[in-house]
Symmetry: C2
Subunit: 247 residues, 2 copies
DNA sequence: AGCAGTCAGTTGGTCTGACCAGATAAGCTG
DNA sequence: CAGCTTATCTGGTCAGACCAACTGACTGCT
């Protein structure tokens, strides 16, 4: 291509691609995980052993581990034996939620985008859940709702349970990714919304209304009515949106 | 509540909440970002200065910075002056895509979940784009398609452009979050799919078909036909799914 | 005056070696 | 054999040093 400089303004991009040592270490670890040679529960060699094997210093190893640690890919504990050392984690963590919050703060995404996207995910999850949910899951939701009934007076506690309930619904879709993304966005915006824009006066009423919608939602799921389920979720989400708009 | 141990098996959870020094540092930095006291482009104090201000050693500061670095929250460069030092990044990075890949490898999500969720996001983005897209964005898509026409023989290059095209469509929705999530999932699975399960024999045909669908999609967007746009996206996604099923 | 070359100073990148704290397992002692 | 002690392993943290990248001011030449 002899074509001269185009319109893209991206013909030249800064080179700066010198790989730092910790990045190399991190890359090796990530590759081992992606290739399945390190799976959930496996124990990693000690930092000292790794630094010897890789011919880098312990701080370089530590910086790589720190990154995986922060992403909830590994769990790190002092001490020897079965409990100590560094292991591949077998649980999801709040990384995505943290990322969302920071990205929002940095202006990459705005609140409306997150709300809309969460709603999309949550409605889809509800639709799927209407056909995929198990009896146990429905019972779990009932129990959560009962617990929430007794917590309408305690806002913090109610909100925590509310989050759990919605995640439970999303998990009933059989798609953990959908549930996790939805939950992450929910976490990322909850404090911005309810905690900030609803005063204690209107809270009891709103909580009561929410409980009613929650019950209708579970009913729809039990009946296998995907359309109604999605509708209740949308209505519920609208409640939060309105509370924000009113502020 | 005097209720005895319930069915939750989560009544007691491991405490292990001793905060490490780097976590404290990280927490402070995250708080500054979330509170908007550090915004895109701002320069952070040097590692040495930070370690002095916070009364922790430089390695502790570095570990905290490393985490933000890995999340593409900050960019780090050696040297002094306007280009050097540590700054809050003003661009999104591939963090979510990396996370997706690792979470998939660890069994938290499976390929089907990611494909389904990506499709959901992409269809919604297309729907929105049908009404929100600008003329410039449509022209950008046209240009990308033309470039792709000339790259059907070069699989790597075509796939890169293909990714760009789909992200461009999603961005036209006006919801950057939707676009970013979609792109991240796309990146996370592309190599698993196309690169692994399509041989060079069938490639040219598939690429030609894809181009046709791409053009129909842009036509639908130009016409403002949200339904058709979503349909073409779904059809396109199905093409990848099928290629996997056939393997 | 203008310019090129040089050098000092700052920043992150990396290493070494050390010590602490948590946690287990081996070993000693009564 | 029970129970305490100790060795030893783990990560957590630190201090201090040197290198490499980079800028900006200084210097000296033209």
């Amino acid at each position: 291509m002899t074509r001269p400089a185009g319109d893209d303004a991206e013909l030249f991009e800064p080179v700066e691609k010198q790989q730092r040592l910790f990045e190399t270490v991190l890359g090796q670890l990530e590759k081992l995980i992606q290739d399945g040679r390190l799976t959930a529960g496996d124990r990693l060699p000690s930092e000292r052993a790794l630094s010897e094997m890789l011919h880098v210093s312990r701080p370089s190893v530590r910086e790589a581990l720190r990154v995986l640690d922060a992403m909830d890919i590994i769990t790190v504990r002092t001490g020897v034996g079965s409990a100590g050392g560094t292991k591949i984690s077998d649980k999801l963590g709040p990384t995505i939620s943290r990322l969302m919050r920071l990205y929002m703060a940095l202006g990459h995404f705005d609140l409306d985008d997150v709300l809309k996207t969460r709603r999309l995910l949550e409605e889809e999850a509800a639709r799927e859940a209407a056909t995929e949910r198990t009896e146990e899951q429905l019972e779990g939701m009932d129990k959560l709702l009962a617990e929430m009934d007794g917590a309408v007076h305690d806002r913090e506690r109610y909100l925590a349970l509310d989050g759990k309930f919605h995640v439970a619904v999303a998990l009933a879709s059989g798609n953990p990714l959908l549930a996790h993304l939805m939950g992450s966005m929910r976490d990322a915006v909850t404090e911005n919304l309810v905690k900030a824009h609803i005063d204690d006066q209107q809270w009891p009423t709103l909580a009561a209304n929410a409980q009613q919608t929650h019950r209708s939602l579970v009913d729809a799921l039990r009946a296998g009515d995907a359309l109604a389920a999605a509708q209740y979720v949308g209505q519920h989400a609208g409640f939060y949106d309105d509370s924000r708009a009113r502020a």
